[in-house]
């Protein structure tokens, strides 16, 4: 294509211009996503009740409290990264979110594995007793995941796969933090499989639907 046809396109774009409503600022969107999570999380805690030892464990690094803090950081970082990856030019914020989220995932996993290593329990796969906590985490993660998918579909994701991964891990971690706050179990293997590794479960379960939703919104942009 020639430079002249580029000029022609430029003039057509200008003559075709219609007013657009700019996207809301990321801090407001992040607040909205986190409020949606908080509202559902508080509802969940009201229904299930806070774990009796929740506040005490927060002061002990290698405990359920450490996993909770890790999941919270992973959730906040994942949400931040996903939002920033939907807006061109926000790479520094995306990198900061990914670093925070990655640190959170690492902390949760490290605490989980440390708890198992300290116990005399044998390694096992997840079983029926782990399912309620995993399901609670996934159900609560749907609200932030849907909010992130909605926003991303209206923005201009420049790394859709990275965005979907960050959103999936972040939303699952936010859901997992609520499940962790409600769970009174001190069984190391349960804490690892049903709580500390929830971001990995989120990646397996939520990434593809989120990616499809983001791609679908991109394709349906009309003009």
């Amino acid at each position: 294509m020639s430079a002249e046809s580029t000029r022609e396109l430029l003039r057509e774009l200008a003559s075709d211009l219609t007013p657009v409503k700019p996207l809301p600022r990321l801090r407001f969107v992040a607040a909205a996503v986190l409020l949606a999570w908080l509202a559902i999380g508080v509802g969940g805690i009201a229904l299930e009740g806070l774990a009796p030892t929740f506040w005490q464990t927060l002061a002990v690094p290698i405990s359920a409290g450490g996993i909770f803090v890790g999941l919270l950081l992973a959730g906040l970082g994942g949400v931040l990264a996903a939002l920033a990856l939907a807006i061109p030019g926000r790479e520094p914020l995306a990198r900061a979110g990914l670093a925070l989220g990655g640190a959170g995932v690492a902390i949760a996993a490290w605490v989980g594995f440390a708890l198992v290593a300290d116990s005399s329990l044998a390694w096992r796969l997840p079983r029926a007793g782990d399912l309620p906590c995993l399901l609670t985490a996934l159900v609560i993660s749907l609200a932030p995941a849907l909010a992130l998918a909605w926003f991303s579909g209206r923005a201009a994701p420049f790394r859709p796969l990275a965005l979907a991964l960050a959103a999936a891990a972040g939303a699952a971690a936010l859901g997992g933090s609520v499940a962790q706050a409600c769970c009174g179990s001190d069984q190391a293997m349960h804490l690892l499989l049903a709580h500390a590794l929830v971001p990995a479960l989120g990646v397996f379960v939520l990434t593809l639907p989120l990616l499809v939703a983001i791609r679908g919104s991109e394709r349906s942009q009309n003009y």
Binding site: E12, L13, P22, I87, P88, A156, N222
Partner: protein
């Protein structure tokens, strides 16, 4: 430094006006951005014959994503990300095209030129039909009006109840999507 700062402020103001629908400010912005965009594209693609094609992709992407620019922020990083992605998309697309072409060369094409022609000609309309069905309706309409019914841009725009510029954009995006869909169909 002063010039660069002045440029940044000017671009931000023009983009804010463009978001409110000021086409004059938008045209100035795009004209001012053109050398900047060409610089980014050429720094990555060199004197590639497709560079101008990618420059046009960047302009279309800027147009599509203009609502994502947030007032008060710098425009340069926003444009740079869009341009870089357009270049990456272009390189990937051509990589896929080369792989397909290489596949066609070594794959089992019929030896007989007549059979080869019919093998190439016959599946295309069905594949094209399927690909057309997958296009968003406004893009399908633009492609059909221009390429199947052979209307002029002005006639097609009147038929589609839109402006000629918008119709060309729809068609452009339709061709691009069709190319991707047909490419996937052939692999």
């Amino acid at each position: 430094m002063q010039g660069s700062d002045g440029r940044s402020v000017r671009w931000r103001e023009w983009m804010a006006s463009a978001q409110r629908g000021d086409s004059l400010a938008y045209e100035r912005l795009l004209e001012d951005l053109l050398p900047f965009v060409r610089g980014i594209v050429r720094s990555r693609l060199g004197d590639d014959a497709n560079a101008e094609d990618v420059v046009q992709d960047v302009l279309l992407a800027i147009h599509t994503a203009r609502h994502t620019f947030q007032a008060g922020r710098e425009l340069e990083p926003w444009v740079r990300t869009i341009a870089r992605n357009a270049v990456i998309d272009s390189v990937r697309r051509r990589g896929r095209q080369r792989a397909r072409d290489a596949g066609v060369e070594v794959a089992d094409l019929p030896e007989d030129p007549g059979a080869r022609a019919s093998a190439e000609a016959e599946p295309l309309p069905r594949a094209l039909e399927r690909a057309l069905e997958k296009l968003p309706s406004v893009q399908r309409e633009a492609v059909l009006l221009l390429k199947v019914y052979g209307l002029s841009v002005a006639e097609a725009a009147t038929r589609a109840k839109t402006t000629p510029g918008a119709l060309k954009l729809r068609a452009h995006r339709g061709y691009r999507l069709l190319r991707d869909l047909l490419g996937r169909e052939r692999t």
